[in-house]
């Protein structure tokens, strides 16, 4: 197993957002979902840079939707997580859980 099998912090957040959004996941909804849940302002460029990287690794797949008038006739690019992506999330979650297990983070380090 290599470092490439795990997700980076923002990759992890993006994949979880895609899983939450299911078939409604595209740039705007992904960005808003992350802002809503993490309270951190995210740029659309950061979202696409990470999504493109995840697609290259085979963790997500994308397809273009139909052009819509509220987007000035531009189409949406929808994303979904692949089976390989789900495995990567699980692996990353297990690794994080394993690393934090037994630690009392609030009492020891606050």
């Amino acid at each position: 197993m290599t470092g490439r099998d795990y997700l980076g912090e923002f990759e992890h957040i993006i994949v979880l957002a895609l899983l939450r959004l299911e078939d409604r996941a595209y740039g705007v909804t992904v960005r808003q979902e992350i802002e809503f849940r993490t309270h951190r302002e995210v740029s659309i460029g950061a979202v696409y840079a990470t999504l493109n990287r995840l697609e290259t690794k085979g963790f997500v797949k994308s397809h273009c939707g139909d052009p819509t008038p509220e987007r000035g006739g531009r189409s949406k690019r929808f994303f979904r997580v692949t089976a390989k992506g789900v495995s990567a999330v699980n692996r990353t979650q297990r690794a994080l859980h394993s690393m934090t297990e037994g630690l009392d983070l609030v009492r020891s380090y606050s």
Partner: protein
């Protein structure tokens, strides 16, 4: 009859900047996403809030797109930057001889002294700007999809070198007049970025895209 959503136009310069830094495939989706949120924000929170949001998103998006463009092909981008650096050094040697060749050929010194004075001072500076523009175009031609990153990096390198050189000159001579040269040096760097933007815009225009309402 269904009502069409009111589309408010986002800042044009910001749209152009995002377009310059994104690949042709990315540009449509990114612009569409930004426009969708901008229209929503403008109707909900007002046009000035939406404009500020759009500019903030543009600045952050450009930084990410530039970083990604460099990371996808670091070696070829670095090679293009190094090549551009050497080409500029080579081409810059011909500016003064070329201008003085024109002055001699048409005997400008004898017949039009004010023109001679202009060519021998400002003319040389303009010649250097044209060399930087040319080098920017050549570098951009060599790095498809990363035109802006390569030319901006090169522009920053030359800009930084100019600042250091001027600081050294001012500290050695104590003559503040050297600092004024910086406006020309920054214009050179800017011309290089413009060269990159020209090539990028032409490539974008050549790529067929679905119509934009």
């Amino acid at each position: 009859m269904t009502s069409q959503p009111q589309i408010v136009q986002p800042p044009r310069i910001a749209v152009r900047l995002v377009n310059l830094f994104s690949s042709d495939e990315e540009a449509e989706t990114i612009e569409g996403d930004l426009l969708e949120e901008y229209t929503h924000l403008a109707s909900k929170r007002g046009a000035s809030f939406a404009r500020r949001w759009y500019w903030r998103q543009t600045a952050k998006t450009i930084a990410h797109l530039a970083g990604t463009a460099y990371r996808t092909a670091p070696w070829s981008t670095t090679a293009a930057i190094a090549g551009g650096f050497l080409l500029r050094r080579l081409a810059a040697r011909f500016v003064e001889p070329a201008i003085f060749a024109v002055i001699d050929r048409y005997q400008i010194f004898e017949h039009h002294f004010s023109t001679y004075r202009f060519l021998a001072s400002t003319g040389i500076d303009i010649g250097h700007i044209l060399v930087f523009l040319f080098v920017g175009c050549i570098v951009a031609l060599g790095v498809k999809g990363r035109e802006m990153v390569a030319t901006m990096t090169l522009g920053l390198i030359f800009g930084a070198m100019a600042v250091i050189a001027v600081l050294v000159m001012v500290s050695r001579t104590g003559d503040d007049a050297f600092a004024w040269r910086l406006t020309w040096y920054f214009a050179d760097s800017f011309a290089m970025v413009i060269g990159g933007a020209i090539v990028r815009a032409r490539r974008s225009a050549a790529t067929t895209r679905p119509s934009i309402a």
